[in-house]
């Protein structure tokens, strides 16, 4: 009985986190983009415009649920869920504190990546089922882009996995406690800088943010694959996009920036979730900063960048780091003799 209650509690916590997160991120995006662009962003609805997203959600909920008559009804209805549910489930492996996680899986990282790789299927389904040429083009682009950028995302995560010796996010975060040489926090970003850069670029592409937002290129395809969606169906996909952003940034925090740990000081358990969220949101802020400043790539340039630059680089890095990690004790022993 208590196990069922425990599962329900965890499920509820994940849902609450996802919804609150979605609301905060949409507001944050509008404010950040506003200030980057010399304007203010929402500031009328509620103090500092904080209730703007709530209003938007209510608006989306009360909109008419339209479906084009010639759209494939089944696929059209299922596609938003196929985009939303994997991003929701990807909250499972996240570690918010020393004892605060939904569950501890030995292959938690793999689960997260596997779930996010289901999203392009939903995007393609949405684009195809809409029976509109513009949506189709958006869906095809997404299929190419998001599936392609999964590979460097995964490969760049292998470096920290090798350093920690496990795919369990709890263990990866635990391996980043302590300091090197007395003053440098043992965060994996320093030895794995190249992997981090590849991860950052791939995560920007995975979440379809400028400069990699070809599948929803606003000036070309209006909303790309989501052209024919309105009301809460669109709301689901929109929410899933921000949820994805959080997940990808959270995984990056866990892999490279020590997760919930503060540098140099021991983190009390009550502070850990806030530190984790602060780090994740800093990462999201940088993504939004890039989103508001840069033009977008063309589809073929973006894909050739992935296949011809990112994947070879990340593969080479995996090989190099594996050799370094294997040979380091041997070299250290030889030097100390």
């Amino acid at each position: 009985m208590s196990m069922a209650l425990g599962i329900l509690a965890r499920f509820g916590a994940m849902l609450v986190l996802l919804l609150v997160n979605g609301v905060m991120l949409i507001y944050m995006l509008r404010k950040v983009l506003g200030h980057l662009h010399l304007r203010i962003g929402p500031n009328r609805v509620g103090p500092f415009g904080l209730l703007q997203t709530t209003n938007d959600v209510i608006k989306l909920l009360t909109k008419e649920d339209l479906r084009p008559a010639s759209a494939d009804a089944w696929l059209f209805n299922i596609a938003p869920f196929l985009i939303f549910v994997p991003s929701f489930m990807a909250y499972i492996p996240l570690v918010f504190g020393p004892t605060l996680a939904v569950t501890s899986l030995d292959t938690g990282l793999l689960l997260a990546f596997a779930l996010t790789s289901l999203v392009p299927l939903g995007v393609l389904m949405a684009g195809w089922a809409s029976n509109s040429k513009w949506s189709l083009i958006g869906g095809m682009r997404a299929a190419g882009q998001q599936i392609a950028y999964e590979v460097p995302l995964l490969l760049s995560a292998l470096g920290p996995v090798m350093m920690a010796g496990s795919m369990d996010p709890v263990k990866i975060v635990a391996a980043q406690s302590g300091v090197w040489l007395g003053f440098i926090p043992r965060w994996f970003v320093l030895p794995q800088l190249l992997a981090f850069v590849v991860y950052a670029i791939s995560s920007q592409a995975e979440t379809q943010q400028t400069p990699f937002d070809m599948s929803e290129a606003e000036s070309e395809l209006i909303t790309g694959f989501a052209n024919e969606y309105g009301g809460m169906r669109f709301g689901f996909m929109y929410l899933a996009e921000f949820s994805n952003t959080f997940v990808v940034s959270a995984i990056g925090t866990m892999l490279f920036f020590g997760g919930w740990q503060l540098p140099w000081v021991a983190t009390p358990a009550w502070l850990a979730p806030f530190v984790f969220i602060a780090k994740t949101y800093t990462g999201i802020f940088v993504m939004m900063w890039a989103r508001g400043s840069l033009p977008r790539f063309r589809v073929d340039q973006m894909l050739s960048f992935c296949w011809k630059v990112l994947i070879p680089v990340s593969l080479a890095w995996v090989v190099v780091w594996a050799c370094v990690q294997r040979l380091w004790p041997v070299v250290a022993m030889a030097v100390s003799r």
């Binding site: 010399l38 290129a217 000036s219 033009p295």
Partner: protein, 399 residues
């Protein structure tokens, strides 16, 4: 018919041939089917579209992402300006012309004034010419700012669109202080201009000149200096010299393709014979060249405005005060260099108080005609960006 010498262009288009029969009617039939039994998609870009700079309707035939053919379908913004002008008196026509090319209304008004003055033999005082040139350059900069912002949006960069508003607000404040309106100016009349510079405008213009270069450098760094932008613009949307001349393109698009022709220098009018400026020239005729040429023009605008405000002469702002104007019978053509190219007015008068026929030679119409040549062979993304680089305004294309 008078034997008034018309303004002729000094360019001869040697060796150019018209590239095939004009498409009349819409070619909606897919032209080819590959061996793989795939079909070409025919898509409508517009008339409602975030990126077609007005109600432009372009039909593109796509093979996947590649554009096979493109055709512009015009007329969504046709308001009958040329016909309406036949029932307006000569000083009422500028109110119509403001609305043709709404981003550079002062150029249309000046072209009208020059044509009417030529046909009626009206003298324009020196100060009026300088005022016209000053306002035209301010208007040119404002129009190029809008182009810069929307071009960045086409490429995906949201920031420059808001940054140009900073500049543009200062310019529109200046123009509003002088002419009385931010967009529909009704300021340049046959005989001169409507009013002199008011007090305080000099300071405003100088305040803008102080920051103009910095703001332009910022926008240029965000776009022209950005590697992603350069990757997209270099080598795409190439319009070579022969094609540009064959289609009658003028303005920045023509200069980007390597043809050195600028009406302000080659067929001068207003105060331009006394002013010192350069004309930037491109080489390849791709999108990057059109971008560089226009940004170069903006820098020359700053230089020109500085000269104009420093050397503004004293004198009358209009050669005639009477509102009644009867133009002798005849026909006449005069053109100015608008931000989009050669904007000309061909006026036919039958000796009455209203024109018999007014024809607006809109530069964007000819620049847009090249759309089939320029878009074919590229991707959709290139198509959007190429359309943005042509700097079209539907108001003057459809009139």
């Amino acid at each position: 018919m008078t034997d008034e010498p018309r303004i002729t262009t000094p360019i001869t288009a040697e060796g150019t041939t018209f590239p095939g029969p004009l498409p009349c009617g819409l070619r909606c039939i897919p032209r080819g089917v590959d061996e793989l039994a795939t079909e070409h998609l025919v898509l409508n870009m517009g008339p409602q579209h975030p990126s077609t700079h007005g109600v432009l309707h372009i039909l593109v035939e796509l093979d996947g992402e590649e554009v096979i053919a493109a055709e512009a379908s015009l007329g969504y913004l046709h308001r009958g300006i040329e016909k309406l002008a036949e029932s307006r008196r000569y000083h009422q026509v500028p109110t119509l012309l403001d609305r043709a090319d709404y981003l550079s209304g002062l150029h249309s008004e000046t072209a009208w004034a020059l044509t009417v003055e030529k046909l009626a033999g009206i003298e324009v005082p020196r100060k009026a010419s300088w005022l016209r040139a000053l306002l035209m350059e301010l208007n040119r900069y404002a129009s190029h700012l809008v182009w810069l912002g929307t071009f960045g949006m086409d490429a995906g960069a949201m920031a420059p669109f808001l940054y140009i508003m900073r500049d543009r607000e200062m310019l529109l404040d200046v123009i509003e202080a002088i002419t009385g309106s931010r967009m529909m100016f009704n300021y340049v009349r046959p005989g001169g201009v409507a009013a002199d510079l008011p007090a305080g405008v000099d300071a405003k213009i100088r305040a803008w000149l102080d920051v103009a270069d910095t703001y332009l450098d910022e926008n240029d760094a965000l776009l022209g200096g950005n590697e992603i932008f350069r990757l997209r613009m270099k080598g795409t949307g190439v319009i070579d010299r022969a094609t540009a001349l064959a289609f009658g393109m003028t303005g920045g698009c023509l200069r980007a393709s390597g043809v050195d022709y600028d009406l302000r220098r080659d067929v001068p009018y207003c105060a331009y014979p006394e002013l010192d400026f350069e004309v930037p020239l491109g080489v390849r005729g791709d999108n990057m060249d059109r971008y560089d040429v226009r940004v170069g023009e903006m820098r020359q605008c700053i230089r020109l405005i500085r000269q104009l405000i420093d050397g503004m002469p004293e004198g009358e702002f209009s050669g005639r005060r009477s509102r009644v104007l009867k133009v002798p019978a005849g026909e006449c053509y005069a053109a100015v260099e608008s931000p989009r190219g050669e904007l000309g007015i061909h006026l036919v008068s039958d000796g009455g108080f209203t024109p018999y026929r007014m024809r607006l030679r809109s530069p964007a119409y000819f620049n847009l005609a090249v759309v089939d040549e320029a878009l074919a062979g590229g991707l959709i993304a290139d198509a959007i960006v190429t359309l943005g680089s042509l700097d079209i305004v539907l108001g003057e294309i459809d009139r």
